[in-house]
């Protein structure tokens, strides 16, 4: 339970900071960065946190289903632009993938020399 408490503590802190600073970065992301800093300073992840992480990770997709089902409210938009959207998503992967893999490989070649 301590693990969940830690997560909620940082989430609440993140949300509070977000509204206080009027930040465009979402509160949960601020909470995540705060927790990351905490872990770096502490030097290792508390056992309770690793535990809750193991428990919740497989359930992650389940928590996304409700908001995703909202797609039923976007039927007109999809009927109108569905094909264009699919093409955009397929095409835009190609340059990104090549750039990413090329940079990763280029760097390594230099190292080997």
């Amino acid at each position: 339970m301590t693990g969940l408490l830690i997560l909620l503590l940082f989430l609440v802190a993140g949300n509070l900071l977000q509204s206080q600073l009027d930040s465009p970065v979402p509160g949960s992301i601020i909470g995540m960065l705060l927790l990351l800093v905490f872990l770096i300073i502490r030097g290792r992840a508390p056992e309770s946190l690793s535990q809750i992480s193991k428990t919740l990770s497989p359930l992650l997709p389940l928590f996304i289903i409700p908001v995703s089902v909202g797609i039923v409210t976007q039927k007109e938009l999809l009927a109108e632009n569905g094909v264009a959207l699919l093409v955009i998503m397929a095409v835009s992967i190609i340059p990104g993938a090549i750039v990413c893999a090329a940079v990763m490989k280029a760097g390594r070649k230099r190292d080997a020399e």
């Binding site: 979402p26 946190l49 928590f63 039923v72 340059p95 490989k105």
Partner: protein, 228 residues
């Protein structure tokens, strides 16, 4: 009686869990294929039930919100794998950071530009910018930016399926398919669904993909609200 059941919030929470469980079963039945992740089956099943029964999304969400509520803690939880990857990254942090920043930047820039000039609908363009970020983060960031959470989720999942399908043969054809580059690219361009594909390819691919996915999500979650 049926009407009463269909307006019971707990029924919809239960149905969502049932749909996800069926999704997991189908996924295993098909040999863990990256092309039908459990979340996709879950979304389709729940959407079909809503269509058939004529129940509105708002009514559904009265039950769905119980599960939706967990999204916040789960995003905070991403700090744990991120922290573990910092050790892996130490040796090659510059190469990895560059590959992730330039790679994810390129795919997002191309997608946003195409959406802007082809469709020209601002909420769609904004939502498109979160397509390479893992779903919980994409939904959160997209809603913050004035995009549509439900669309963000759909874009991310479809991008993931396409990426898992296209990236391995694509990188092989241009001879950039060494394990680290393959893993990293799958994580950057196809996030969690790419990572499940990477797991099939090997341990090194899997580790690099999971790391790339978490780093991309963090980078975009911080940068997109400032840029868009």
């Amino acid at each position: 009686m049926l009407n009463e059941l269909l307006h019971m919030p707990l029924f919809w929470a239960m149905l969502t869990i049932a749909a996800f469980t069926v999704g997991q079963y189908v996924y295993r039945l098909l040999g863990n294929t990256a092309f039908l992740p459990p979340i996709l089956t879950g979304i389709i099943l729940v959407s079909v039930v809503l269509e058939v029964t004529g129940i509105s999304f708002d009514t559904y969400m009265e039950g769905g919100q119980y599960l939706h509520l967990m999204l916040g803690p789960v995003v905070v939880m991403l700090a744990v794998p991120l922290y573990q990857f910092i050790h892996v990254m130490k040796k090659e942090w510059l190469r990895i950071s560059l590959a992730i920043t330039l790679g994810s930047g390129t795919t997002v820039a191309v997608a946003v530009a195409m959406a802007h000039f082809w469709i020209g609908n601002d909420p769609i363009t904004i939502t498109m910018s979160t397509k390479s970020v893992t779903t919980p983060v994409a939904v959160t960031v997209s809603e913050q930016l004035g995009g549509v959470g439900a669309l963000a989720s759909a874009f991310v999942i479809i991008t993931g399926v396409f990426g898992a399908l296209m990236i391995p043969p694509l990188l092989k054809s241009v001879k950039l398919d060494d394990p680290k580059a393959m893993g990293l690219t799958l994580g950057v361009c196809a996030h969690a669904i790419g990572t499940s594909r990477a797991i099939e390819l090997g341990n090194q691919q899997a580790a690099y993909s999971a790391m790339a996915m978490t780093l991309t999500a963090t980078l975009h979650a911080v940068l997109l609200p400032l840029v868009m």
